[in-house]
Symmetry: C2
Subunit: 505 residues, 2 copies
């Protein structure tokens, strides 16, 4: 707001002139006082100027519906939603999420700063606040084969960007606590901003060192006790409810049971696919579930709004009060939390018609470079004695190590019981291949592949025969879309042709 706008807005706040827009008769959730009060909300230039009794040039009568601040997703990867950034924002904002704190960790690991620029550009014109955390772990660890390397020096070009809030999840915690200079350099660069963590199951001493280095959040908590260890260290815990990882029930149950102060808890989705968002909502789902598990509604809303704004130093977001951006959600029932109307900067998001097809620069395409394989490359040396195999566990993200006896020889013949998986380096055509036997996956007569594979996004192929595995690496690659526009599904190659398996049925 410039001086002229402020002067005009103050006049409206004082009731000396009508506000541009007044939302009348709302039951306003005040996240500061934790009250719900029947009020009008006066808005000028997309900013709330006052709550109380107001008259506006334009008025919307809500007849007692609840109004709360727009939700903040405090940590997500837009790439993991499996739609383009602007498509995702347009869908998620309808669920009430008006602020997205995104970490382009995946696109950066493939395309470096081009991948970051893509996310920044694609989210420039959307009807939501999109902030970016600079990916800290590109590559994820020292042993990864990824597409790019992002040093502190390269990051420094982004330091002053108004939408970059700090350093993205520092998953390479070992480099932090051991004081590796290349990591400390990144932490120092963003010291005055927010340093996001990724710190499951650190020992108390390591967690202290990690906090001491300035890392202030974590979204990887899966149990209450560990979450409290982080809270005690002054960290914010971002309660995650995504597609694969769902930690809300465990954490919220603990909070309710121990009557823990919720002041340093926020919500995030991390990796949530578009179909799950369409089915159950976005941060609205976290809020609804938290309320169902016993958090008082206003406290749950505060976790999804003001607290995330405080955590990320967003002083203009997260509340319905003078000076706060008019990002508002309207619901008629606090328990069901069914979002009925959303305003971004005082504009109803349903009226936003700016969804344009995503444009993806050429330099972001054609990043898959695989060295031609032959059958020998897939040979595994089996001794005929017990050796480790990968056991799939239901729909879990984690797998289990098992030991089994495979037929001896230089070539292990996979079959339906025991598939073969290969991770094929696909950034620099180095020919590097990792191979293993997988039990419980159950492919019969073919192979499937994906270039979506966190964090380095190498090609993962799994099948019951080497011919199809190789065929995929040759034939499927040119037609496999880039990770950012990959429709979710299972792909199969038979007789040199490429099918989407789940579309056949």
């Amino acid at each position: 707001m410039d001086r002229k706008q402020l002067t005009k807005a103050m006049k409206a706040a004082r009731g000396l002139q009508r506000a541009e827009l007044v939302i009348k008769n709302a039951n306003v959730i005040n996240v500061f006082s934790e009250e719900i009060r029947r009020q009008d909300i006066a808005i000028e230039d997309g900013v709330i100027v006052g709550t109380g009794v107001y008259h506006g040039e334009r008025e919307i009568d809500l007849k007692g519906m609840y109004v709360m601040p727009g939700f903040i997703d405090s940590h997500l990867h837009l790439e993991s939603t499996l739609v383009t950034p602007s498509e995702l924002i347009h869908q998620a904002v309808k669920c009430g999420t008006t602020t997205f704190i995104v970490d382009p960790h995946e696109s950066a690991n493939v395309s470096g700063t081009d991948g970051i620029d893509y996310i920044l550009e694609q989210t420039e014109q959307v009807p939501a606040n999109v902030y970016v955390m600079m990916p800290s772990c590109v590559p994820a660890t020292g042993v990864d084969d990824n597409g790019c390397c992002l040093t502190a020096e390269k990051m420094s070009e982004y330091h002053g960007h108004k939408r970059i809030l700090g350093l993205g999840e520092v998953m390479d915690y070992r480099s932090v606590v051991e004081g590796k200079p290349e990591m400390l350099e990144k932490l120092e660069l963003f010291r005055d901003k927010v340093l996001d963590g990724h710190a499951p199951f650190l020992s108390p001493g390591d967690l202290s060192a990690y906090s001491l280095a300035g890392i202030g959040t974590d979204h990887e908590c899966v149990d209450y006790e560990y979450a409290m260890e982080e809270i005690r260290n002054g960290m914010y815990v971002l309660i995650r409810e995504g597609s694969a990882a769902r930690n809300l029930q465990a954490l919220v149950t603990g909070i309710v049971k121990h009557q823990t102060d919720t002041g340093h808890f926020c919500f995030c989705t991390d990796d949530k696919h578009i179909e799950d968002i369409l089915r159950e909502g976005h941060i609205s789902h976290n809020v609804r579930e938290a309320i169902r598990l016993g958090i008082p509604p206003v406290k749950a809303i505060r976790m999804a709004t003001l607290q995330a704004a405080e955590c990320y130093h967003l002083r203009h977001l997260g509340a319905v009060a003078p000076g706060y951006q008019a990002d508002l959600i309207v619901v008629s029932d606090l328990e069901q939390m069914k979002v009925e109307r959303v305003f971004y900067k005082g504009q109803d998001v349903e009226e936003d018609q700016n969804l344009s097809p995503a444009v993806c620069a050429d330099k972001l395409k054609h990043t898959v470079h695989v060295k031609p394989l032959c059958e020998k490359d897939l040979w595994m040396h089996c001794t005929g004695r017990r050796q480790p195999v990968i056991r799939m566990v239901g729909k879990e993200i984690l797998t289990r190590e098992e030991w089994a006896v495979l037929p001896g020889g230089i070539f292990f013949e996979p079959d339906e019981t025991c598939n073969k998986v290969a991770v094929i380096e696909r950034h620099k055509a180095t020919g590097k291949i990792g191979k293993a036997a997988v039990v419980g996956y159950g492919i019969h007569g073919g192979a499937i592949a994906s270039s979506v594979s966190h964090d380095s996004h190498n090609l993962v192929v799994i099948g019951d025969n080497d011919r199809d595995i190789i065929a995929l690496s040759f034939l499927a690659l040119p037609v496999l879309p880039e990770i950012r526009i990959l429709p979710r599904g299972l792909y199969r190659v038979e007789d040199g042709s490429f099918y989407r398996e789940d579309e056949e049925q």
Copy 2:
């Protein structure tokens, strides 16, 4: 902490080497989790590196005493303590206040930026964190006659100073809500920092406009209902307990009665004289009283520590956790809150021997310039009809308007019942004098004067005869010390000599 220090500190945090100092067996108040846990506190280079089980090069066994973060006085005027800045800090830090957010409003109104520099210089070497808010109202209002004028342009030289946190209490709220350009310029200058308020009894619309302008705190709340209006607007309420103004009982009673969330309340002293500090403590007194009135001890401590740190964006202060400065208070009883030991950056403040006599630059002296008076200057035109007089009200800071009939004539002869008060401009010897009749002050046979008079610090003389009033303006001035070193007391002139009245008894 530089990289080398951090690396060393992380080793200590992980238990790989002994910490410089370990405070053993403390009952540590954790302001994040609101728990009290028996722990050791490991400290390196004045910073807490971990809590848990630690061993140190040096160890202090507290045998179960309570340890909490050092208190923060979120708003005070060092000038009002009536001792020099460093003397005050040395006394107040022994009461547990390790951080002072000071507004040199008084010295700036007399000496401008020289007065601000004096406060900054005098607090450079003290065993406490002293931050300065840039005085916003010099002069206090448009009708004041003070010593200097501080424009936004002059302030801008201080903007980058590492100990200047923002703009001091904006008492000229009218200039804010009416959008006066010279005021908006100051607000814009410090927009990215903290803007302190001073806003008693604004109408809801004016308070909205005031918040909208970015002002984020107020320490002038005297009742709970008004405090809640400010809280609802997102402001922090700094609960004041000073020498003259005491608002804690009213506010805390309301908070306890309504079970209000205390998250946006802090504590301050504003104007507290040294003898009151020595008698009852400093912020420790606010905390003790809040607990006595029903706030749970850990919540009261959190108000005095973490919350004030959050309010003023002091990310390294206010908690006993890794990365926080080792400013610690030791007490053996939480209710009595008798401070038994204080650490500043891990050093026991009792061991600090750096209290050097205050040096006051010559340019700060000799600021009293009065145009010689004659009896005629004190004449008041009385009509013999009812006219307004000032009624003193007990020991209150406020006076009351009364109407009385004074003898008619060009000269009003004061007496013991009806004294005369004169406010004599003393910065630029303009000869401006304000005169009034005062009922209930009760001076007999003399006059007293003070150059401590908020905000402009003109000479205030009160007496029962004009001869002594004039004598004071002539004779007393050269011997009246500067406001910053004025011993508190009553001064009287008789027969051309100058006595401290309360020393005679």
